[in-house]
Symmetry: C2
Subunit: 242 residues, 2 copies
């Protein structure tokens, strides 16, 4: 089974100014791993047309699915929909379905469906809407790009709405061996274990104090075999060095 690949494109000056800590990457990354989709790359770009278009074009050509977050609200700094249309040479147009959804939402809350809100119903021609159960204004899919909101609660609702339609790979299993050894003490031994278990991916993550040794792979037996060797190694080094 071919492993589907993915990238995330985060659009927003607020992340690049340090004002806001991104909360969407970890959510999407975790869901993709569980589905066996390999997240290969993330890019974070500013709310600038040229940067958004260049990034989405490059990612769209390279990976199977792209997930963008941010820039689809009603304000002047929300330019993602226009940029996606330009990136894929599509016209931008009012979606009658999105307009209706927004009109119903506004009527129920007694807020005006003004020009700003109507901007959120404009999507590239041919795009497929992504439902937003939180605040009505939809995301959309164009080509292989899922265009979602930046507000985490809305992004998560949109992701759950598209999740069943995503490609399916073999879910990646992940087990962690935690220890208090120093990374430098076990580096050579760990590399030998990695070489004996090429179908797993072994990572070493120090977090001061402490060390997490993580085995990832799609085959449960192979993951377990590598984990058992790491655990034995950790025991041996713990006796020798503590």
């Amino acid at each position: 089974m071919k492993t589907p690949t993915a990238a995330i494109l985060v659009i927003g000056n607020e992340i690049l100014s340090g004002r806001t800590q991104d909360a969407n990457i970890a959510f999407i990354a975790t869901r993709l791993a569980a589905r066996g989709i390999k997240l290969c790359e993330v890019r974070i770009v500013r709310d600038e047309e040229e940067a958004i278009i260049a990034a989405v074009k490059a990612l769209s050509l390279t990976y199977d699915c792209i997930f963008s977050t941010g820039g689809i609200g009603p304000t002047h700094d929300d330019i993602t929909a226009e940029c996606m249309a330009k990136a894929f040479d599509a016209a931008i147009e009012m979606s009658e379905s999105a307009r209706k959804t927004l009109a119903d939402y506004c009527a129920a809350r007694n807020v005006p469906l003004n020009e700003g809100r109507l901007r959120m119903a404009r999507v590239p021609k041919g795009a497929v809407l992504i439902a937003n159960e939180v605040s009505a204004a939809p995301g959309f899919k164009i080509a292989n790009v899922y265009v979602m909101a930046g507000v985490p609660k809305i992004m998560q609702a949109m992701f759950l709405a598209i999740e069943d339609g995503l490609p399916q790979g073999q879910p990646v299993l992940s087990v962690t061996v935690s220890c208090s050894l120093r990374e430098g003490d076990i580096a050579d031994a760990l590399e030998k274990i990695q070489n004996r278990h090429p179908e797993t991916e072994i990572g070493s993550y120090p977090h001061m104090p402490g060390l997490s040794l993580v085995v990832r792979g799609v085959n449960a037996e192979k993951v377990e075999a590598a984990r058992a060797e790491i655990e034995a190694m950790v025991k041996k080094y713990g006796q020798n060095h503590n």
Copy 2:
């Protein structure tokens, strides 16, 4: 004064698997903004040679300074130094100075300076070392790329060691007007304020509940003028709509 530009390259499968939430981007972004360096882009790539080399080459050509984090430890999955050497056609070699620093550190703690630890003294030929006051193993600068550790505490120590040598732009001021209005209610009015204040950058960030309207710019008077208009607009809409 020309505004220096920057990018961050985060290297590490642990971020892309969702296992670890990145903590370095916000730190670097905040420090760069305070120094007047414009952070234009972030890329997160896997611990894979081809991906690292392609990303660092592209970023190095596009921006004034690049900050990489991750992949310079002692284990087999730490391949950043080798990749940086290849990206810039440099040989990789043992730095005598780095080796001495590590030897002293290990001797003082009675841990062996083994093969794994010695890997951390290997840097591209011509690279300039970046001090690591936390755990001795240095980062380095090659071309316009500052190569730093991924562990936040170590990365922060390295960043503070290089900060004074970074280019200096006009620091960007940022003021926030918080309110409980809906973004859709004020989108049109906010756009008009942005158009009247083209030398500031006005962002609108909903966080459910609540809305932060942020004015950024290098000129304090111009930032204040835009902020005052936003505050007046918020008062007016608050009266009309609440």
